[in-house]
Amino acid sequence: MTKQIRQLDRVVIRFAGDSGDGMQLTGDRFTSETAQLGNDISTLPNFPAEIRAPAGTLPGVSSFQVHFADYDILTPGDAPNVLVAMNPAALKANLADLPRGADIIVNTDEFTKRNLAKVGYASSPLDDDTLDGYAVHPVALTSMTIGALAELDVSKKDAERAKNMFALGLLSWMYSRPYTSTLRFLERKFAKRPELVAANVAAFKAGWNFGETTEDFAVRYEVKPAKMPPGTYRNITGNAALSLGLVASGVRSGLPVFLGAYPITPASDILHELSKHKRFGVTTMQAEDEIAAIGAALGASYGGALGVTTTSGPGVALKSETISLAVALELPLVIVDVQRAGPSTGMPTKTEQADLNMALFGRHGEAPVAVIAPKSPSDCFYAALEAARIALTYRTPVILLSDNYVANGSEPWLLPDVESLPDLRVEFATAPNGEDGTTFLPYLRDPQTLARPWAIPGTPGLEHRIGGLEKADKTGDISYDPTNHDFMVRTRAARIETIPVPDIEVEDPDGDARVLVLGWGSTYGPIGAACRALRQRGLPVAQAHLRHLAPMPANLGTVLASYDRVVIPEMNLGQLAQVIRARYLVDAIGYNQVRGLPFTAAELETMLEEVLKNV
């Protein structure tokens, strides 16, 4: 039969199942197929910290949401149009997010009495009125997969595990996705087990063919490619982009990159990725703890490498003392904090922006550092380069505040021309800099950058000692002189405060907005989507987004002063808002939520509309 084809401009699909059901992989593959087609994409993985929570339970539900459109989009979407629920737990955990009318594809094989009881369903929601108003598609995913693989030489367990590929095949058919990249992927993934390649490919095709033949799916959808700038693209997560940015920093500076890291969610993927790039002169060390990780990175910086350490909030707390040492030593160091919900272990796989205070102020003594934050997954690449640039040019620790949302979310990335990336080359000190021509003064500063010379061991004639004790200006000798300490504290503050950073740009297309929304980091997408929606409704609103949190752009005060109201949405209890109030005496309105999930564009739109009404 010929199926009707309907055009859509955007779709949000959520794949949900048990932690062991392979939902992340399924979502990832669907995303990749969608990218190939040229849609704009934004994704949101959401999974528990437990590797295998008890099967079939609510805490064990893992999901992957993908939003794709024929125009440029900024978020993974507020509410799914389609939910794929691999078991009752996945249905129950996600149903509240679904607007009425949404499609729900359920794996009926898992709706057993036992599984229903596990999540507190007294009767099957497939049989009662729970799903009234939704377009429910019951599919016996597991048994059809096993049936499709009956002729193949695989165990029942392996056959059952291929059910996610059946689901992927069905969805790929529904949304007319090209699938050759998925077949290639399966060949690579199971290269050592050809029988599993065959099984997964067969399951995928069975799902595709099921869509084509069953009458339950009468309509097939298409989403045309988005109009995007010409060039070559790839889909990339924030952690992957950040890793590539660090590799690029090594190439563009000509310095070896040394990463000291201790495994921690959600930052470990950066360690995994960088450990694969030794051919770029990248050395990775999995240290015994967070403190050793940053210590080794600082030691490598002292020796002339680009020292980097990657972690999440609890790790930054442990590294705090070493960051202060790096402030005193005035050596380059990049500290990546992929923020997660805290305090303490908190919710390790959920997002939050609550480490801003720690990044800005969380050290003993007056210990200023530069702080920057990426606004999207692909922006992590450029943020890493910018962190390296500041660290190397100004000989300072730089904290890069990513978060779980940008780290694990993905979007298409227009690949840059390598030659267009910033030139990060540095000059090491090679000769004495004292007036007598023989003395080396390790704390004699460059008048422009206030950076001290980087004199690395192995350089004859520049032997010197540095340390955590206060140093005399210029000579670097130990000094307890009161005036000198006051001078050095102020100089360390000034050398961060005077780093030139680009002016903040304001997006206010008609120039008539009276309300400014100021954000930082990963909230860029939802804020941008909310502002667009308001403007489309004829409600003017301006958006500005901070990439540099220390130092802040020189024009920020002027920008803030030119609006009647400043609203600051943050996934914390108002940390940036407090800084803005203190520094600029602006009566900023905070909008704060800490649910471990990114803002939805809709909630921001509603909130901003209220603010607009009251200006």
């Binding site: 051919r279 050793a292 020796g303 002339g304 030659e419």
Partner: protein, 345 residues
């Protein structure tokens, strides 16, 4: 390979212009002088030598050496030195630490540097007290020690630093004494020649807060009856007249001290620092009694194992050797790897 050019450096070349600020009479002066005198022997240019320290009296050491140096954070010197050594295999990296710095706040970094076999020479000045904070007991202080923080005696059992290092499977473990310059330098020499981590415990007198802690090992009248001078390949006998010896009693786990006169010559243990199993050196480390009787000094263990630095460096070098393109070309290839698509304008 041609003979290296003799640099003809002297002890004076290794003295920095900084005023030494230890208490008068501190054992650290003797160690500093011994190290400065020993350094020229290495025939390594000063600029290729780095001293990294933590916090404590001993950790002021780098300021007084006219080499590169870093006085870092309490306990963290082995970690910082690891990053430096791994990324700069051309350098000779020395760590100076104390019993509090290395064994209390920095215990984790010490054992991990040793198990990795990082190419560091770690000198632990053990005075069995916290000096810089004015006299609290340390992780090597004896049980019952009366100090400012333990007015009725410490309840903690101490670490035996040599046992600890051997437990971490350090490939080189030695012990020496601040006041015996010749012996100290002989152990430094062996440590410097060792590829990988070399751990050297140096008994050091704190004349202010723990004076005389090692007197039994220094008093010419009695020291020979207390000290076991380990020499590779030699039977282990000691005492003023060689009246004591070390044996491995049949059926026992460890080593014991016997009277030489009543022991058959073949029963006396011949010291072999190259025994692969650290259990032998560990048994040696357990010989001393609470009064420092039967304290071995010298090289307990010296075995060959590839250093962490060399393994890490060779992985990087091998990967780099395979690359045929420029770094920029490689980077362009890396950025464009995986599934890509092109939009034509």
């Amino acid at each position: 390979m041609s003979e290296p050019i003799a640099l003809k450096l002297t002890a004076k070349d290794f003295k920095s212009d900084q005023e030494v600020r230890w208490c008068p009479g501190c054992g650290d002066y003797a160690i500093l002088a011994a190290v400065q005198q020993f350094m020229p022997e290495l025939n390594i240019p000063r600029e290729n030598i780095v001293f990294v320290s933590g916090i404590g009296c001993s950790s002021r050491f780098p300021y007084y050496m006219n080499t590169y140096g870093m006085h870092s954070i309490h306990g963290r010197a082995p970690a910082i030195a690891t990053g430096l050594s791994v990324s700069r295999p051309d350098l000779s990296v020395w760590v100076v630490t104390g019993d509090g710095d290395a064994l209390s706040i920095g215990g984790n970094h010490l054992i991990h540097a040793l198990r990795r076999n990082v190419n560091l020479k770690i000198l632990l000045f053990n005075n069995r007290i916290y000096g810089l904070t004015k006299g609290q007991y340390s992780p090597t202080s004896e049980v019952g020690k009366i100090t400012k923080s333990t007015p009725v005696g410490s309840a903690d059992a101490p670490f035996n630093p040599i046992s600890l290092a051997l437990g971490a499977e350090a490939t080189f473990v030695g012990r020496t004494i601040d006041s015996d310059r010749k012996h100290l330098q002989s152990v430094l020499r062996a440590a410097a020649e060792h590829e990988g981590s070399a751990f050297v415990e140096i008994y050091q007198n704190c004349n202010i807060f723990n004076d005389g802690a090692f007197d039994q090992l220094k008093d010419p009248g009695i020291r020979d009856d207390h000290l076991i001078r380990l020499e590779h390949g030699q039977p282990i006998t000691f005492g003023k007249d060689g009246q004591f010896c070390v044996v491995h009693p049949p059926g026992g786990f460890g080593l014991e001290v016997r009277e030489t006169a009543s022991t058959a010559a073949e029963e006396i243990v011949v010291h072999d620092a190259g025994v692969a199993d650290p259990a032998y050196a560990f048994a040696l480390s357990r010989l001393p009694g609470f009064d420092l009787r039967n304290t071995p000094i010298g090289v307990f263990r010296s075995v060959a194992r590839p250093s962490y630095d060399s393994v890490v460096q060779s992985q990087v070098a091998e990967a780099k050797a395979k690359a045929t393109e420029t770094p920029e070309q490689q980077l362009a290839g890396l950025l464009g790897s995986g599934d890509t698509w092109t939009i034509v304008g």
